[in-house]
């Protein structure tokens, strides 16, 4: 049994973590926490960290002892510099809480790249963990909608950079901009994205601790994640009716199944495919055909097959990327955002000259 640590930082990380804990009950009922137990195969410890207490209070399926509040008003206001200071102030508390939970085989840190707390805490936390622990740590980073604003884009750019510098073992990208293809209102879109990430991670955790017909394990996952440019994404598809396994694999590798916009066959460096479902769907020819097609482009494809009676086929793919066009686009926009913010700051500074004009009447009162 694997010992797995999942940390959710900031509002986005908290919500995805809560969705994972909710889905672990096997039902989406709000009363599941009263009536059921989480069905993790592994020993999974979850921790939510936030500066905003309201975000922690909104969590319904994460135990109170697993929520760490690092007090700073009600959040850091998307200011990563403030966030870094807050983390420094609370680092001891956070690390103590994590280390008290023992040693782990692998850790996942979930965060938004664009927010305040998550984007500032996560790189520093990973850096601390890497210094004090010897288990692999993977960051699941949610990229912002491009129209969310310059501060968020700026944060995302610097967060990803800090993340890479933190010594993280891999960054799994999920892109809100890419996932907004799901449609719906803002709330349902956010909830949908959170659910998608939660479901993929739970599938991955389940697979890593399952007996397989064809085995992929944590070691294979590490190998996959160590390939490429250090960033990865996850694809997933669950058939809602009987369909060939080939089609399911294709959909898992298509934009419909991926969390980040990429061409798996062009940009992937290493890959892992985990197939789960009833034996009758596991056509070796079809599986081999698809794997061969992917490996011919990617190189190494680890495949695992989990047989579950009476289950429709489901496929999870983990792709590490050599290059990411979409990421480059993001950084291009981010650079524009950084420049825009800088210019704005300069304008604000010039506005202070106007303050001198106002200062001329300091201490004077009007006469009527």
């Amino acid at each position: 049994m694997l010992n797995i640590l999942i940390i959710g930082n900031g509002q986005c990380g908290n919500r995805i973590l809560d969705a994972i804990n909710r889905d672990a009950f096997g039902t989406k009922s709000r009363f599941a926490k009263y009536l059921s137990h989480q069905k993790y195969k592994s020993n999974v410890q979850t921790i939510a960290i936030n500066t905003a207490v309201n975000d922690l209070k909104e969590m319904n399926f994460t135990k109170a002892k697993d929520r760490i509040h690092t007090p700073h008003l009600h959040g850091v206001g998307a200011n990563r510099n403030v966030g870094k200071h807050v983390f420094e102030d609370n680092k001891t508390l956070i690390m103590k809480n994590i280390q008290e939970r023992g040693n782990f085989d692998v850790a996942f840190v979930i965060t938004s790249a664009s927010g305040g707390t998550g984007s500032s805490f996560t790189p520093m936390l990973i850096k601390e963990l890497k210094q004090k622990c010897n288990y692999p740590i993977y960051a699941i980073v949610v990229l912002p909608f491009r129209e969310e604003g310059t501060l968020y884009l700026q944060n995302a750019a610097f967060c990803l950079k800090d993340m890479r510098d933190s010594g993280v073992d891999g960054i799994i990208l999920a892109d809100n901009q890419f996932l907004k293809q799901m449609g719906g209102n803002v709330e349902s879109a956010y909830n949908g994205i959170n659910d998608m990430i939660a479901r993929r991670l739970l599938f991955l955790l389940d697979a890593l601790d399952s007996e397989m017909m064809m085995v992929t394990d944590l070691g294979d996952f590490k190998t996959v994640m160590s390939g490429g440019a250090g960033v990865a994404t996850i694809g997933f598809y669950e058939a809602d009716s009987e369909m060939p396994i080939r089609s399911v694999i294709k959909k898992a590798l298509s934009p419909e199944g991926l969390l980040f916009s990429t061409d798996a066959y062009q940009e992937a460096s290493r890959s892992m495919i985990i197939i789960r479902g009833d034996r009758k769907y596991m056509s070796i020819d079809e599986v081999s055909s698809e794997v061969e097609q992917l490996s011919s482009s990617v190189g190494q494809v680890f495949k695992g097959i989990i047989v579950r009676n009476d289950e429709l086929p489901q496929v999870l793919t983990v792709l590490t990327l050599e290059s990411a066009v979409e990421l480059e686009k993001l950084y291009a926009i981010a650079v524009e955002a950084i420049n825009y913010e800088r210019q704005k700051k300069e304008r604000v500074d010039s506005m202070k000259e106007m303050d001198k004009a106002f200062s001329q009447i300091d201490g004077m009162d009007p006469s009527y």
Partner: protein, 419 residues
Amino acid sequence: MKHFGKTLTLISLAVLLLLISAGSASGKILFNDTIAEGDGYQINNYVIDVAEVFPDYDSVTLHVYEGASKTPKYDKMISVDGSYKFAIEGEDVEVTVISVHSGIVPRTKLLITVTDGSFINSKTLGVVSGGHTEAEFSGTPVLEITKTVDMDRIGAGDVVTVQVSVKNTGDDEATKVIFSDPTPAKFVLQQTLISPTGQISLDKGETRLIYTYTLKATESGTFVLSPTTAIYSNSIGDDFPQASSNTPVITVEDSSKKANLDITLAVDEYTVDRKDDLQGTIRIKNTGESSASAVTVNLIVPTGMEYSDGDSGIEIISGVPTIYMESFGIQQEKEISFSLKAMDEGTYTLSTQNSYRFSDGVDPTPQIASSTSVTNAIYVKKGKYDHLLEQPVYIYLIPLIVIGVIAGLLFHRHRQYKF
């Protein structure tokens, strides 16, 4: 053989002596003594006068008088050793002249016997100096006692005058007459105008008013006055049976004014579930002609029911719901409500113990009246949820434990997730 003849001779001699002694006995000897000429010997109402003694002729003339008759009933000259026999009240009296003696007053010795002397009054037995003219004879007084009332139909509280008179219709004086006249029940002796003082005597034929008194009737009804009785004796002190008067009947009509409280008790339901409430009403109405006072109504609540609440007129005194009213006027009505709770299954009756006082205008002391009011049977049946209480303990315990465990678990979970 010679010896047998001697014995037979002795037995024959003894029998002969026995027969001789039997032949000479003529009954009980009343007198065996001398008696002077002109004197007599009285046996009850008969006097045997020694009219004349003839010593020279050894004979005596005897006159037998009956009562005060001046003419002798028997007139006999009897020689010494001669006798004369006659009957008194069915018994034979035999007078035998034993001897005669001369003197200033000649005397004769008589032997008087009677076959059975039990009928003889000792007070009229013996020598009468002077003969029958000096004898005292006994008579039979008869007392007729008459009791009368001036009114035989009166109202309660009215006064009636009673007179008792007596008449001696016998042939002798009544002596040592003692009257007894008990005061009748339901009457009060108001005034005694005439009453006998001690023993009295009544000559024959005498009539006398013995009692005159007044009685006050205290209660309605028909009453028979007890007879006035008298015990008495005759002139020689013989006692006679008690004489009784007639027994007048007096009808006393109810003229008193009474208070009459009609106290009724009712409940709104006579079949209720256990634990249900029951509304009760006590209605009091004075239908009498006098006001009542100190009206007390005690509500007797049976075990199995519980007094819950009531109007302000009900006070709990020593655990008993009690209504007390100082006065209650004529034709006044009052209704007092209360509520009970049926606690146990069963059949119950609710009752009140009522008492009050009133003045009837006749008796100076207040009258006390009491009564009881009872409801019909009230059936208390099982409550709606009573069947739940009849289940074994585990029926309640297990669900409670399960609910407790679930609640504990839910609370624990809630605390686990409460931030």
